[in-house]
C-alpha cells in the first residue's frame, strides 16, 4: 500500500466542481480523498509542494493515433503513452485505423493488453464504424463495446454512404455510443492538397474547399436530428462548421466536437514553401477560420481540445507536398499551445483546463476529468510560467513530425499522476515497476 500523497498549496482548477483557488489535494489509494481550502496535515503523506503551480485533472485526448498494431516504427502503444503522460494526458482515445483495423474484439483486446503492459495512462480504444474502414458494412458494434471500445469512428475517412451513416447513428443508440466522424466529402476534396485560398493558388497546390467539411457536417447534423443518438465531430476546422454546430446546439441536438491545437494556432500560411509538416487533414485553414475556432472554444460551441496525434516517419514527410502523408504529432505540445490562448486572452485559465479535461470526459462519458473526492487520482501538475522551446528531437513520441519545432511556449507539465501514481516527473517517465 503506497502512502497518501498531498499536493500542497497549488492552484487547483477543477471546472466541473467550480474550483479555482489555492487548495490542498489529498490522494489515498489511487483516488482523490479530499480537496481542502485549509492546509491539511497528513502524517506519513508524500508531500508534493505545488505552490506556484496548477493542480489540474489529468487531460483527456479524444483523438490519438497510437499506430499499434501495424506501424510500430511510427509509434507503439508504449511510446504513445509516454508522449501522452509527458504532455499531461492521463487518458487517450486510440483511433481504429491501425493495420489491423480495430473492427473486432480481437484488436480491441490487443490494444488494451498492450496498454496494460505500458501501464502509464488510460487507453480507451475506438472501434471502427465499418468493417475495414471501407464504408460498406457496419462493424460489429456490440462486440466492440463489450470488448471495451468507448466510441466508433472511421477516423481519417468519412462514411460517404449517407444511408449507412444514418443506420450507424441509429444502431449506436443501442449502446449509447458516441459516433465520431471525420467530415470530408471526398467528391469535394478530390485530389486537393491544402485549403482553398490565396496560398494554395500561389503555390499551385490543388485546393480543398471548406465545403468538403461543412457539407458533411450539415449532412450528419440532419441525420442526427432524425435518428437521435450522439454525434461527435472530429477536428473541426472551419468557420462554416462552427456556425452549423452552434445552431444545432441551440436546437438541442446531442452533438459534441473537438478542435486541434494546430487548427486553432496555425493558418494556411504555415505551409510556407511546401512544408509537409504543415500538411494535415483537414488542412490548415484561413485566418478567419482560426478566429472562428478560437471563439467557438471560448463560448462553449466546441467542448474539447484533441490533438489528432498522428505520428509519421521522416520518409512520409520528406517528399513532394502532394505526396506527403497527412498528420502531425501533438501530445507533447498541446498544453503549451492551449495556454498560448490563455496568454493571448482568448480563453480563461478555467476554460482552457475545462476543454482539456471535463469537456472531453463528458463528451465520451469517460471517468476522470475532474477532482471530486472519489474520482481517480489522475492529475497534471503544471508550471504555467515555465518558458520552453519545442525540440522535436526530445519528444517521447517515436515521431518528429511537428510544425511547432523551435516555437517558444509558456507553460509546461511538471508531473503527471495516474491513479495516484506519479508516471512523469521533471522530464522523465517513471518506470512502472
Amino acid at each position: 500500500m503506497s502512502p497518501p500523497v498531498l499536493f500542497s498549496r497549488g492552484r487547483v482548477i477543477d471546472p466541473r466542481n467550480y474550483v479555482d483557488s489555492v487548495r490542498d489535494v489529498l490522494v489515498r489509494d489511487g483516488v482523490i480523498a479530499e480537496v481542502s481550502e485549509a492546509p491539511l496535515s497528513v502524517p506519513g503523506a508524500q508531500v508534493v509542494e505545488a505552490q506556484g503551480h496548477w493542480v489540474l485533472p489529468g487531460f483527456i485526448d479524444l483523438h490519438v493515433h497510437l499506430r499499434e498494431p501495424g506501424e510500430e516504427g511510427k509509434e507503439t502503444i508504449l511510446t504513445g503513452c509516454q508522449a501522452a503522460v509527458a504532455g499531461g494526458f492521463t487518458g487517450v482515445v486510440a483511433m481504429p485505423n491501425t493495420k489491423l483495423v480495430n473492427d473486432s474484439s480481437l484488436v480491441t483486446e490487443l490494444v488494451l493488453s498492450r496498454a496494460r503492459a505500458a501501464n502509464l495512462c488510460h487507453v480507451y480504444p475506438a472501434g471502427a464504424i465499418t468493417k475495414g474502414l471501407k464504408g460498406e458494412e457496419m462493424a460489429e458494434m456490440g462486440e466492440l463495446v463489450s470488448a471495451g471500445c468507448v466510441c466508433i469512428t472511421d477516423d481519417g475517412r468519412p462514411v460517404m454512404n449517407a444511408g449507412l451513416m444514418r443506420r450507424a447513428l441509429q444502431y449506436a443508440r443501442l449502446f449509447d455510443l458516441p459516433v465520431m466522424v471525420h467530415e470530408e466529402d471526398l467528391t469535394l476534396s478530390g485530389k486537393g492538397a491544402m485549403t482553398e485560398g490565396p496560398t494554395a493558388t500561389r503555390l499551385g497546390l490543388l485546393p480543398i474547399p471548406p465545403s468538403a467539411e461543412v457539407a458533411m457536417v450539415a449532412r450528419d447534423l440532419v441525420l442526427l436530428e432524425e435518428t437521435g443518438g450522439r454525434l461527435h465531430i472530429a477536428h473541426v476546422s472551419c468557420e462554416g462548421s462552427v456556425r452549423l454546430l452552434r445552431e444545432a446546439k441551440r436546437r438541442g441536438l446531442h452533438v459534441t466536437s473537438e478542435v486541434t491545437p494546430h487548427h486553432f494556432t496555425l493558418d494556411d500560411a504555415a505551409v510556407g514553401e511546401y512544408d509537409t509538416h504543415a500538411k494535415m487533414n483537414p488542412p490548415l485553414r484561413l485566418r478567419r477560420d482560426v478566429e472562428a475556432l478560437r471563439e467557438a472554444l471560448a463560448d462553449g460551441t466546441i467542448e474539447a481540445i484533441a490533438t489528432d496525434h498522428a505520428p509519421h516517419g521522416v520518409l512520409d514527410k520528406q517528399v513532394e507536398f502532394d505526396k506527403g502523408i497527412n498528420g502531425v504529432v501533438g501530445l507533447e505540445t498541446a498544453l503549451g499551445l492551449t495556454l498560448a490562448l490563455v496568454h493571448e486572452g482568448v480563453l480563461s485559465a478555467r476554460r482552457a483546463v475545462e476543454v482539456l479535461t471535463d469537456g472531453p470526459a463528458k463528451a465520451f462519458g469517460l471517468p476522470g476529468g475532474h477532482l471530486k473526492p472519489g474520482a481517480p487520482a489522475d492529475i497534471a501538475l503544471v508550471d504555467p510560467e515555465a518558458k520552453w522551446t519545442v525540440d522535436a528531437g526530445r519528444f517521447f513520441s517515436k515521431s518528429r513530425n511537428t510544425p511547432f519545432h523551435g516555437r517558444s511556449l509558456k507553460g509546461r507539465v511538471v508531473q503527471t499522476w495516474v491513479g495516484g501514481r506519479c508516471v512523469f516527473d521533471a522530464g522523465q517517465i517513471k518506470e512502472s515497476r
Binding site: 490565396p198 500561389r202 511546401y274
Partner: protein, 296 residues
Amino acid sequence: MRHLLGIEGWRREEIEALLDRAEAHLPGGSASSSVLQGRVVANVFFEDSTRTRTSFEMAAKTLGAEVLNWTAQGSSISKGETLLDTVRNIEATGPVALVIRHRSSGAPHLAARHVRCAVINAGDGTHEHPSQALLDAFTLRRRWGALDGRTVLIVGDILHSRVARSNILCMKALGARVVVCGPPTLLPVGIQQLGTEVAMHLDPVLPQADAVMCLRLQTERQSESFFPSTREFSRLYGLNAQRASKMKEGALVMHPGPINRGVELAPAVADGARSVILEQVANGVAVRRAILEVCV
C-alpha cells in the same frame, strides 16, 4: 550559384538583367559560347516534355556543356526510389545544375534544399514555369521595347497552369497589366492576390489586350467536369479568326505549346500574322542560355 525555382522572389532589376543577358545569347550575339565548357548540366525530367527539355539541352550544349538527359521512364522511380534519392544520386555524378520538371508543385524546392548544385525549375505541377515566363517576357520586350503599360491577357485553364502563374508574376514585375480569363471552374480562388485582374467572358476583354496568351487545354479536365465539352470551351474561349479580328491592331498571339489546334487556337490564328509562337520557341534557347549562365 543560385537557383531558379520560380519568378516569385525575383526583383524587376534581376529579371531585366537576365533578359539583357539573353539578348547577348541570341544568334550572332556577343555572349561567349564556352561558359559551360567541360561542365555537365543534368536534365531531370520526371514528366514528359519535348520543347522545354530540347530547349534546355540546346542552350546547355551551345554553351559548351555536356548534357545528361534523365527521364523517369525506365528509371529507378519505377522501383520506388524517392525524388530526393534520385536527385542526390544524379548530383553525385557531378553536374553543375539540375534542370527539374516534375508533376508535383514544389518538387524543385524540395530538391534545392538537399543538393548543392543549382536547381532550375523547368515546370513543377501547377505552380510555376519560370523559364517559360522569362522567354515570353523576352519575346514581348523584343517586340515592344518594354512591357510597361501594356495589357497581357491569359486565356484558358488558369487553375492548372504553371505558365499562367509565372507569367502573371513576371509580366506584373515588368510593368504590364495582366488579365486572366476562363470559366469560373478554372479560375483559382485568390488569383487576384498575385496582382492580376480576372474576367469570365473573353469577348469584352479581348479588345483591350496587347497580347493574348492562349493556354493549352488539357482535355482530361473535361472528364473531371471543369467544363462540359471541348466544343463548348472552344466556342466560349477559343481564339478563332473571327474573334482575332476584334483584337487591337498589332496585338500579338502567344501560346506556350503544344497547341490543340482548333480548340484554344484556330490554325489560321496560330499560323497568322499576329502569332509569335515560333519566336517564343526560338527565343527560349537564348533565355535558357542566360538562365544557365546566371545560375551556374
